[in-house]
């Protein structure tokens, strides 16, 4: 049971139960990501103005880990510049893959530390982040095309 609590902390559960970033953003770019090992899907929406993320939301079905992680991510992306956002995402993915990342740079993402001990669940935690990263790449392309 204790092991389980490391994974399903009260904080994670509360993020899961109050998904305040869930929903579509009309007119914003969205991208769907899938986790092949369980069939879950998440769609991330980012509203960007002048290279800054003004709104971030997600839709989709998934487990406690993937849903709470999507919520945390969307919150953290708000008001970030695209390049900052990308850096933040890379940091989180590195952290989840067991690399050393200074804790103070992680912010709320640190709540997912416990997931690192469950290799099969790391994918759940990073699904939204991988999807957002790809979306940011696309948005940057559009930006530079326009610029």
């Amino acid at each position: 049971m204790d092991e389980l609590r490391e994974l399903y902390t009260d904080t994670l559960m509360s993020f899961y139960l109050a998904p305040d970033r869930k929903g579509k953003i009309a007119d914003a770019q969205g991208l769907e990501g899938k986790n092949l090992s369980c069939g879950d899907r998440i769609k991330v929406f980012l509203q960007v103005e002048d290279g800054v993320i003004k709104d971030a939301k997600f839709t989709g079905y998934g487990c406690v880990i993937s849903q709470s992680s999507a919520t945390v991510m969307c919150r953290m992306l708000l008001n970030k510049r695209l390049d900052e956002a990308k850096e933040m995402i890379d940091r989180f993915i590195d952290f989840m893959q067991g690399k050393d990342v200074p804790e103070e740079l992680l912010g709320d993402a640190l709540y997912f530390e416990g997931v690192r001990r469950f290799p099969s669940r790391v994918k759940c935690a990073t699904l939204a982040w991988h999807t957002a990263k790809e979306l940011i790449q696309k948005l940057k392309g559009i930006q530079s095309d326009a610029g």
């Binding site: 139960l17 487990c63 880990i65």
Partner: protein, 404 residues
């Protein structure tokens, strides 16, 4: 006397009171199988058939004796039993040989059911796309059952081949495979029986069933991974072109052309997995010693207890039939919780179940869920395993209070 408690002692991995309920994915191996593999590598290891030193004689004898044991178990001739890597390769072998060899041609129709594992679905679908044949899908009812009238409807569309599972891996439905084969034979339709789940649980005699082909995997019936078999009716195998090309399956090679070896070697290219066949043979010997009536009764009872107790829990939804067409596999969900979280939770109770789509997306889509938890029972499971799982599920609200 059949005693699961006694049998459990042959499976050392279960010693630590693990309720292993993922048997539809792969079963555990008894000591005799593990030891036979070890013994093979310690005392007999060599390549087979082509050499005449002592190790090669021993290895060849072990190899062919396993083939005879397994053929005998399913009622086929040894020459009709081809060793493959498993069910997936067996079915791909058929599909490629049919399409590449022209036994199935553009314009032909192929029927599969929507209860199939991807292994008996995607090869037909993808090669149909490439070679211009048409797929006909046999629907299931809401519980995953296939009715003979649906099968007839499909067959009467003029299909050349029907590929179907004897027992579905997502919902545990035992299909009326004898009747289905009969309907197909009446209409001259070739039958490919996916025995991956069926053969571990039911004594199948291929001649009595009347299928043209049957595929199965050792690892789902006590045997090692990486080995399986394809049964095929001799006349058909003889008409087919080989699938894999390489050593062992050759009669003569010249720059102009190649002629092929006799059955079953024509379909067994490359150095065979001799150790795998040795383990497979031992697994079958273990199974053949069991009282099958008792074994089936025991498995059915455990699965029935699971189904009925789970059904009584308000926040649990159980899928699939709940009658005699159901065997060993119990698919369910907990309301408000993702199956992934459920299996993770059960792990903390030392209960191993699988969660996901079980490589059967068309079937899950049909019953309207993206994923389920699946508990699957084998004969070494005990009432304690089932009770442990039920107790865990009953306590799940302690961890996830919003459930229900």
């Amino acid at each position: 006397m059949f005693s699961p408690e006694q049998i459990r002692k042959d499976f050392h991995i279960l010693e630590e009171e693990l309720a292993y309920l993922d048997n539809a994915a792969t079963t555990q191996k008894p000591d005799n199988v593990i030891n036979a593999i070890r013994h093979y590598y310690m005392k007999q290891n060599s390549n087979v058939h082509r050499s005449n030193y002592e190790l090669a004689e021993l290895a060849t004898q072990a190899f062919e004796s396993s083939r005879r044991t397994i053929a005998n178990f399913i009622g086929s001739e040894p020459e009709e039993l081809i060793f493959t890597r498993g069910t997936t390769e067996s079915i791909n072998l058929l599909a490629y040989s049919f399409f590449v060899g022209g036994l199935i041609e553009a314009g032909d129709k192929i029927a599969v059911t929507i209860a199939e594992h991807h292994s008996n679905f995607v090869p037909w679908q993808q090669l149909s796309k490439r070679f211009g044949t048409e797929m006909v899908y046999v629907d299931t009812d809401d519980e995953g059952r296939i009715s003979l009238s649906e099968v007839k409807k499909a067959l009467d569309k003029g299909v050349k081949l029907l590929a179907f599972t004897g027992m579905s891996n997502s919902l545990g439905v035992v299909m009326p495979y004898v009747e289905i084969c009969h309907l197909a034979k009446e209409r001259g339709v070739l039958t490919v029986l996916d025995g991956a789940q069926l053969v571990p649980h039911h004594k199948v005699n291929v001649k009595e069933v009347g299928c043209d082909f049957m595929a199965f995997s050792a690892h789902k019936m006590l045997g090692p991974m990486g080995i399986g078999a394809l049964y095929g009716r001799r006349e058909l195998l003889e008409k087919m072109v080989p699938f894999l090309y390489g050593g062992e399956m050759i009669d003569e090679v010249t720059l102009e052309d190649t002629t092929f070896n006799v059955l079953p070697y024509k379909f067994e290219a490359g150095t065979p997995n001799v150790a795998g066949t040795v383990g497979f043979g031992e697994a079958i010997r273990y199974l053949a010693r069991l009282e099958w009536g008792k074994v089936q009764e025991h498995v059915k009872k455990l699965a029935d207890v699971l189904i009925h107790e789970l059904e009584r829990i308000p926040y649990v939804e159980v899928y699939g039939p709940k009658d005699e067409t159901q065997h060993s596999i119990v698919s369910f969900n907990i309301k408000g919780l993702h199956p992934h979280d459920v299996s993770q939770y059960l792990n903390s109770w030392k209960v191993a179940v699988r969660s996901g789509h079980h490589c059967a997306q068309p079937q899950l889509k049909r019953i309207g869920v993206p994923a389920t938890c699946r508990a699957s029972v084998y004969f070494y499971n005990t009432e304690r395993d089932v009770e442990r799982m039920l107790e865990a599920i009953k306590n799940i609200t302690n961890e996830f209070p919003w459930v229900g």
